[in-house]
Amino acid sequence: MRYLLPLLLASPALAEGPAVPNFVAEPGGIAHEFTGEWEFMVGGGVAAFDCSGDDLPDIFLSGGTAPSALYRNLSGAALSFAKAEDSGLEMDMVSGAYPLDIDADGITDLAVLRVGESRLMRGLGDCKFEDASATWGFQPHDLWTTAFAATWEKGADWPTLAFGSYIDRTEDLFPWGSCTENLLYRGRKGQFDAPLPLKPSFCPLSMLFTDWNRSGTPALRVSNDREYYKGGQEQMWHVAPAEPPRLYTPDEGWARLRIWGMGIASNDLNGDGFPEYVLTSMADTKLQTLAEPGPETKPRYADVALAKGATAHRPYIGEELKPSTGWHAQFADVNNDGYADLFLAKGNVSEMPDFAMKDPNNLLLQRPDGTFEEAGDRAGVASTLTGRGAALADLNGDGWLDLVVVNRNGPTEVWRNGGTDTAANWVALVPLMEGQPNRNAANAWVELRAGDRVQRQEVLIGGGHASGMLVPVHFGLGGADAAEARVIWPDGTEGAWVPVEVNETTGLAK
């Protein structure tokens, strides 16, 4: 429990900009590399979730050509990890991973993305896992899998999984235009059906089931790498129960956008109830907000990255002025001031001389007016290794979000967030639908009200770059010392506002 200090709204620190957290490099025993050449120029995911039952996130790291690894979290005040032996998660050709409770048994499972056949690993407890792909009727294809998202469709007793795949890796001379199929797996009664192809497929590097229009039925956003598709663009699919997936069309308002799509993250930044989306790319980052939000809104987005100072288009330290390359994106309130910040992992694809080789990660702190301020260097996370996947999560339970970044052909980096000079409170919330298939309430909206300001986050399984988390939903409160929370559950039921303890993790059960 942290002690509260008086709110200093007019303090010099706030007048000068957001408080900058002090990240301290603290590997805590994690010694791991994501390695490989062409087939691992993308990927490099990390998964953060509790597999040991101590409420601290354990860390799974993809390895590419090296074995993947699970690290048990032993942190106290300092970060500390121990490599799990014989966890069942040690495998090769892993590009990323996303935790989720597929069978709703209360033990988190793991979707493991591979160059080859992906796997569904069932959690057995005490950080042990078994390959349940066959048991659950999951029929993986031999693909270069690069993206994943999951949801529970209305009325379904089994999750719906989307796997995105990249290039036909047998094409060496002319791989362009050879994007392989994305696959949608639905199931019932503990078994997945044969997958449905999501045609056309355009080489995604990130996918996200998200209730973009607050209709109660999440759609599947897909961010595609224009380097490899022909005739492609960014996509969004209608995924309605018992209906074939169907693309959003221009007639519905979907506007064509073609980028080097590499990562997606979302957050309701402007408080209008609808999520904004950040899309990482090369040389520029997109920050999308609905052009006309409202009950009948269409999926037409304005790019406000330039206006908000979130383009993150080139290195902000060092001598290089070449364009930047963005991968994992994640919104999280790293300074607990009540405004979601944006972390972007950066790194050259593979010695591309037109792009920065020493490309620092970005930590864009959000100001109260909705603009962003770069603080990666001041916060201590401006690593110029070749970043790919990442996770911002409270690894030691102190209320400050820590950071893990997987680098390609370089050491995985871990930073403990030592907090800011400005006192700030926080709340962590765990929505739970015990006894129901969607136990962890994917696509629920968790709202926190302090004073007259409401923050909200959608519970998501997917997005980022090959990296997923199943951890409490974290909100910063700034100096506020009281707050209420509620959950709008995936079926649309609005939970009642309930007071929650600040600087504590609180469960919200349906």
Binding site: E37, W38, M41, I167, D172, L173, F174, P175, W176, G177, R226, E227, Y228, K230, G231, R258, M282, A283, D284, D303, V304, A305, L306, A307, T311, H313, R314, L321, K322, P323, V349, S350, E351, M352, P353, D354, F355
Partner: protein, 438 residues
């Protein structure tokens, strides 16, 4: 210009090729692959690399096509005893010669390996992988059945020719492109008539390649060749010519037919999403070459002339763009006609007048008309892989005019930029058409 030698009627042209006019003069042996196949294989890859190399905006792409075309021509010319472009192109000296017997296909493979490798040295890991696969797989075919000493001598000679062309290329002013062509600093011209950024992309807040017009041209001669008169006087008066031109863009955009949309998309040729406008015209020539079975000298001649024409087209066009520095339709229309107007196509990040696609399309059409004749019908399937249907044209001029008009439909150019661009392209193309080769 030598119209008799260049403006061959199609029937006569094909007769010449079938008669074997282009038999290698100094070939010592035949490889398992023809010189034509070597050229077309490399160019197929180049059309992909142009699309997938981040610096390859249309002007940069045109430059590469210019130097690749010259490399291809000089190689074929040397192997066949044909006229070199040395002395005809600005500052180009004769490439080195070999006194050994050579195999044309192997020399071409050596030349294009070196030239493509250098011009696309900045391409990404997938492009590098494809380059290596092309070198190895095509190299194996080239070497199949060839005496190893002859193969090596031929490959070395190809590399020597390419090295000579690349050394010449290094001095033209366009060899180094940084920050994807966007300057780190640049003072925008003040005043309402002038270009302002139109894109929310951060690096596009300054215009693309403002000094490109200072590059050394390939074939254009003289001081500031192919200049243009100024665009209509800038005015905000609804009765003015300038307003009328903006209104035409707006009204056209508001009432686009399906055919007009199809034309705009067909010629959109966006960088990083297509072979770019110059690549589109190289693709047109390659489709005709394949259809009609052109022999290596004709194939190399066409690639050189089209490459030179589009490269010079972008140099001439860019010089005028930054001379007048005119604002784009989207800027004017949103200021004075409709603040919510959006064009169909993405507005390119540089000044408006004249239209680059118009200039370079007319330049390419001029040389292709000189080669094949004025009423040469063809089908163009360049964007078919991107899901667009092929289009047919009765002549190269018709295709160039449609490409130019596509920019009006796309909402990114006024009429004057299109019309004057076509005129500028005809001027530029005449220089390339006048080169002595076959």
């Amino acid at each position: 210009m030598e119209p008799l030698s260049l403006t061959l009627p199609r029937r006569k042209f094909l007769l010449l090729t079938a008669a074997g006019l282009a038999l290698p003069l100094r070939a010592a042996a035949a490889t398992a692959i023809s010189p034509e196949a070597v050229i077309s294989s490399w160019y197929r890859l180049v059309l992909e690399l142009v699309r997938h190399t981040a610096t390859y905006s249309p002007p940069v792409a045109s430059r590469a096509f210019g130097y690749l075309g010259v490399t291809t021509w000089e190689t074929v010319a040397q192997c066949n005893g044909l006229q070199s472009l040395a002395g005809q192109l600005n500052d180009l000296t004769p490439p080195p010669v070999s006194d050994q017997p050579l195999d044309t296909a192997a020399v071409l493979h050596g030349a294009l390996t070196a030239a493509v490798g250098k011009l696309f040295e900045n391409t990404g890991p997938t492009g590098q992988r494809a380059l290596q696969a092309m070198v190895e797989k095509l190299g194996a075919k080239v070497a199949d059945g060839l005496d190893p000493a002859l193969a090596k001598a031929s490959l070395d000679q190809g590399a020597a020719i390419a090295g000579h062309i690349l050394a010449w290329a290094a001095t033209d002013g366009g060899a180094v492109v940084e920050n994807m062509g966007f300057p780190q600093t640049y003072a925008l011209t003040e005043g309402p008539a002038h270009w302002v950024p139109t894109s929310p992309i951060r690096m596009q807040q300054l215009p693309l390649l403002p000094d490109w017009g200072k590059n050394r041209p390939f074939a254009m001669k003289g001081d500031l060749p192919c200049g243009l008169p100024p665009p209509p006087d800038y005015s905000e008066d609804p009765a003015s010519s300038f307003y009328s031109e903006a209104k035409e863009v707006y009204d056209t955009g508001k009432s686009l037919t399906d055919e007009q949309k199809a034309i705009a998309r067909f010629w959109s040729d966006d960088p990083m999403l297509s072979p770019t406008p110059p690549g589109h015209w190289i693709s047109i020539f390659l489709q005709i070459a394949e259809r009609d079975g052109l022999m290596a000298p004709q194939l190399a001649d066409g690639l050189a002339r089209v490459g030179i024409a589009v490269a010079d087209g972008f140099i001439a066009c860019w010089r005028v763009k930054f001379e007048y520095d005119l604002l784009r339709p989207v800027t004017y229309i949103r200021r004075f006609i409709d603040p919510k107007w959006d064009p169909l196509l993405i507005t390119p990040p540089f000044p408006e007048y004249p239209s680059g696609h118009s200039t370079q399309s007319a330049a390419a059409a001029a040389v292709l008309t000189a080669i094949f004749g004025p009423d040469f019908a063809f089908e163009d399937a360049t964007p078919v892989a991107d899901g667009l249907p092929a289009r047919s044209f009765p002549s190269f001029d018709a295709a160039a005019e449609e490409a130019a008009l596509s920019r009006l439909y796309g909402g990114i150019h006024y009429r004057a930029a299109i019309d004057r661009g076509l005129e500028q392209g005809a001027c530029v193309g005449a220089f390339a058409a006048g080169l002595k080769t076959l």
